[in-house]
């Protein structure tokens, strides 16, 4: 277990202790304040170079990371490689070596292959690697920003700050994750974060979209989706990953909506205080009805906004590391 990501790479939430996660969430609280200023910039990473390397399509994650890096005054090298490294005829190792030769402190990597971030951290051990999503494996900053969002909203309701509340709001919190668990890196990171922070996690999905080894995960499996909705304090919906083949795991999108979609009718049965979350991009009308997205219980936009302070915190901790006393 890693007790702090200071000066280290961030590859997976599985390996982080509760202390390491709380440190990131607490650091992000201070960056929320920076983002409210009229001049949203601090010199924390001035002179540092962050490469943003996206081998897979992404809008929000890439923008969020690059915004975070710029608000910390880092220089950003941005490379969006829509086509795979194979098609370009260059190995992952060669691509990284080229970027590294330009002189970088950190690389944010999004890749469609599981394990790509770990491989890169082996190729360039002197560079901090931040996993921006690797295949079906992990999406650590999404897990962190989801946990951060839950803590922030529950703290607001009790009139305290997230910083003061620590992990109190997670003790016994009932979180339901719905949909394509099998193909979801977000589910793997969310579950790691929530379980580590002390929440009860339940999953609901058609049998084909549950991983074969779900019995070994720190979750329970809901037998009845409607009962689980009534049980939940937080409902996290996942994107049906049709681009990863989940399209053939259910008979049709409309049948998925019938069995596991958060329809208007189902949303009406939720308790008023239940939060609805989605990592995006959403398939409106499949895993969630449009009108549910637009309801006040749905905190998707808050998740997107919180992506920036969380990624500022991760960049700051991993890159600045032990350099204390940097002015915020």
């Amino acid at each position: 277990m890693i007790d702090s990501i200071r000066g280290r790479s961030l590859l997976s939430l599985d390996e982080l202790s509760k202390e390491a996660i709380v440190e990131i969430l607490d650091m992000a609280e201070s960056f929320v304040e920076v983002n409210r200023r009229s001049i949203k910039k601090v010199p924390a990473l001035k002179g540092r170079v962050v490469a943003s390397l996206f081998f897979e399509e992404s809008t929000r994650t890439r923008l969020s990371f690059e915004t975070a890096a710029k608000r910390l005054s880092a220089d950003v090298l941005s490379l969006a490689v829509a086509s795979s490294s194979v098609k370009k005829g260059e190995s992952l190792r060669d691509t990284i070596a080229t970027i590294d030769a330009l002189g970088i402190d950190a690389v944010v990597l999004r890749h469609r292959s599981s394990g790509a971030a770990l491989q890169v951290s082996r190729y360039v051990p002197h560079v901090r690697v931040i996993n921006g999503g690797d295949g079906l494996h992990q999406h650590p900053t999404q897990g962190l920003l989801d946990a951060f969002t839950i803590r922030q909203i529950l703290a607001e309701r009790t009139g305290t700050s997230g910083l003061e509340s620590g992990t109190a709001h997670f003790e016994g919190l009932r979180i339901l994750i719905v949909g394509d668990i099998r193909h979801s890196r977000v589910a793997r990171s969310d579950i790691a974060a929530y379980a580590t922070l002390g929440a009860h996690v339940r999953v609901a999905a058609p049998g084909t979209l549950l991983p074969e080894d779900i019995a070994t995960w720190p979750v329970t499996v809901a037998t009845d989706f409607d009962d689980a909705l009534a049980w939940a304090d937080v409902v996290c919906l996942l994107r049906l990953q049709s681009e990863r083949g989940s399209g053939t795991f259910v008979p049709s999108l409309s049948e998925f909506r019938f069995t596991h979609g958060l329809t208007v009718a189902r949303a009406r049965t939720l308790r008023p205080e239940t939060l609805i979350m989605h990592p995006g991009p959403m398939n409106r009308g499949v895993e969630i009805d449009s009108r549910v997205v637009d309801s006040s219980a749905c905190v998707v936009e808050r998740q997107v906004s919180n992506g920036v302070p969380i990624r500022m915190a991760v960049l700051y901790l991993t890159v600045a590391g032990s350099h204390e006393g940097v002015q915020l």
Binding site: D14, S85, L92, H111, S114, G135, L136, H137, E212, D213
Partner: protein
Amino acid sequence: MSDIVLRQGLVVGESASNLGDVLIVDGRIAEVGPSIDAPSGATEIDARDCWIGPGFVDLHTHLREPGREAAEDIDSGARAGALGGYTALVAMPNTEPALDNVAMVGYVLERGARSALDIAVAGAITQGRRGELLAPMAEMAALGVRLFTDDGVGVQDPSMMRRALTYAKPLGVRLAQHCEDELLAASGTMNESSFSSHLGLVGRPALAEELMVLRDIELVRLTGAPLHFLHLSTERSVALVAAARGEGLPVTCEVAPHHFTLDESACATYDSVFKVHPPLRTAGDVAALRAALRAGVVDAVATDHAPHAPELKDLAFDEAPAGMLGLEHAASLTAEALGGQADPQRFFQLLSRGPAFIAQLRHGDARVRHSGHGGALARGEDANIVVFDPGVTWTVDRHELASKSRNTPYDGRTMHGRVRATIAKGHLVVSDGILT
């Protein structure tokens, strides 16, 4: 061809082992005895503390020529084999283009004849290894091909596999199957288990292999044609084949060193050097395969030596090609698996006599252009001999391999036992563990 005398090793015959000397004259074993007066000028090899046995025969070598000579060619593969104690290799047909006709087979045999070892060929079962139309097996058999396989993939269509077995039976050849149902394997990249799920890698279930083993055992029962099962990787696969043999069916099987030395947990590094098909299985499977080796349930150890150029192995795990090197370490790993008090008879049965029987490369077989392998170390046999020192330990350095490629999963591993000398086609090709 100079005379060679091997001094004071344990000469491992088919049923007994005796301390003594072996004299080789004109490429044949001239004499075996407790102490031989060698002709003057004979090369003397000190074989004290060593096992002297028939040279190893690999049923499963990917030599990559023609088509991917950057990864390996027939010469470099033969040198790697010689260092590993091999005297004959069976070249797999998944080259580019595939070895599915007499012109391609002739090319490899021709090149092989000029290499350090005997190079036999496994021809493709179907044209282009596409599983659709039978390849001209009778023509290839006339050139000396005795083993046919579409290895890399199995013949997926059961009707085509049945037809191939029926066609091959009167030719006196043996088909060999890479057992994995590709539809069930579903483009997976490692064994399906908690490990794969946790790592976010799509799994290849053990059942994908076992279902095809089961299917093909029944096709053997139906057709009566012999079948060899390539690189079995699960406890159940080996048990299925053992049971079929118990019923008298003409089935044989091999296991690969990586499947009895490494388990799926190695994939946690996402280092594609551990990616192989069939995949590394559970620790339980590894233990079961080791037990099967010791119990004599398995007919052969075969390497599935699969060189890949570094730029391909530097891709992400799911994008990198499957396969790892094997020739230079198989004997040491087999000795290790057989245990500290390894039985030399079993050792040579698995690495030499068993595979020579399956490939029809023995002294008595109707061979077309190869010398005899897997012998009893009797007077008059062709000199294909290995001297193996079971007592020495050494460490693998992937930069010191004879193979053109570097994708060994054993870099840095301590090995027990090493080939001291290899005599292939009558020539001393490895001496003191070094290519001559």
